[in-house]
Amino acid sequence: MINVVADVGLLCLLLTVALAIVCTRSPLSLVLLSGIYSIALCTLFVILDAVDVAFTEAAVGAGISAILFFAVIRPEDEPVTAFSWPSSRAILLGLGVGVLLLAGTLDMPMYGDHLAPAHQHLALRFLGQSFEEIGIPNVVTSVLASYRGYDTLGEVVVIFTAGVAVLILQPDNKKGPAKPGDRDRFAPELMGNPVLKTVLLRMIPLVVLFGLYVQFHGDYGPGGGFQAGVILGAGVITYGLLSSATRLKRIISDKWVTLGMALGVLVYGLVGVAGLFLGANFLDYSVLGPTQTAGQHLGILLIELGVGLTVSCTMVSLYYCFKQGES
């Protein structure tokens, strides 16, 4: 009952924020609104039992996306009028499409229906047998890393591709490396503020610790390589914001970041190739250990490390690249 109330309430919130976004023109307000939207969506995902997804949405929607958007928007983009209705042509088209789609939803199974076809076929085996076959309690991790491990390899490659893309797109810095005294336009208020520095610098080890916890606890609870990578990356970026990107680059240079990005994909891929050499199919972890579950455990541990490495390095690389574009 309480779930349903929360579900409906959050749906209303989502609709309100989405409508506000349709009518808003100011980029700053848009980014803030989309952050609120993400948090609402993430809470809704918890209500709908998708804790891993909610975790990711929180890290991505409210975290990375917002940071990236803030790196791109500028005060001079703010329009004179902050609010405008969409054109009537778009509204009409949207309404038309919406009514058509509404008719298409009528055969769908109801909310929470136990007999819905989606719960019958594949899901039965994942829920019923994954513990014997893989031996970890978080079924989402089992499916993600083993049954559909190849999709996850694809996912890591997508992140890597985005990292490569942003590297290619970063403007060539012809002025040479930035001087140590350069102000960080990314977050000017963070630098040289004793309060922030005192609190946040002490937070960084905790953030890193939390990241490692999420990395290695993903088998038993929500979390895993992706979320851990985002958290670790956030910890490193916080340091960059507090001192300066130049300082951070002296500790972790661009080259190492790029290397880590590529290495993560290679780790994942080579775990798969190891299966080939041991006489099994690509990404079959069962042959990696003495027993099937031991092999699956080892394989999942390794590939999650690869995911974490690629994601965290890509985060830092994104920060460097967007930083570069500001000079």
Binding site: S29, P75, E189
Partner: protein
């Protein structure tokens, strides 16, 4: 007993947040609003977390809730500080409501 105590704390926390939300709308200028938002945020979230702490059955969950509480205790005032400082730096003053740079949808 613990159940009643926990529920009371949760309720109190929610009410506090609600009051803060009203303050956010009713106060005249940026700094008053910030005041309402930040103090209430810390107290309200703290009360809710305390309620959850009381209600949580296991030590592990209680520990995690306590960690979240500690995090909010440190970070929430800090955020308010950063916001206030940013506002002050960009030329917003208490005696001139609504002054300062254009902030999009904000008045």
């Amino acid at each position: 007993m613990t159940e009643i105590l926990g529920s009371l704390l949760l309720l109190l926390g929610v009410l506090t947040v609600l009051v803060g939300g009203v303050g956010l709308f009713r106060f005249p200028d940026f700094f008053c609003r910030l005041h309402s938002a930040s103090i209430v945020d810390t107290l309200g979230a703290g009360l809710v977390l305390l309620g959850m702490l009381v209600l949580s059955g296991s030590v592990v969950i209680a520990f995690k809730v306590a960690m979240i509480g500690a995090l909010i205790f440190f970070l929430s005032p800090m955020t308010a500080h950063a916001l206030a400082r940013a506002a002050l730096r960009s030329g917003m003053h208490r005696d001139k409501p609504g002054s300062g740079p254009s902030t999009g949808g904000m008045k």
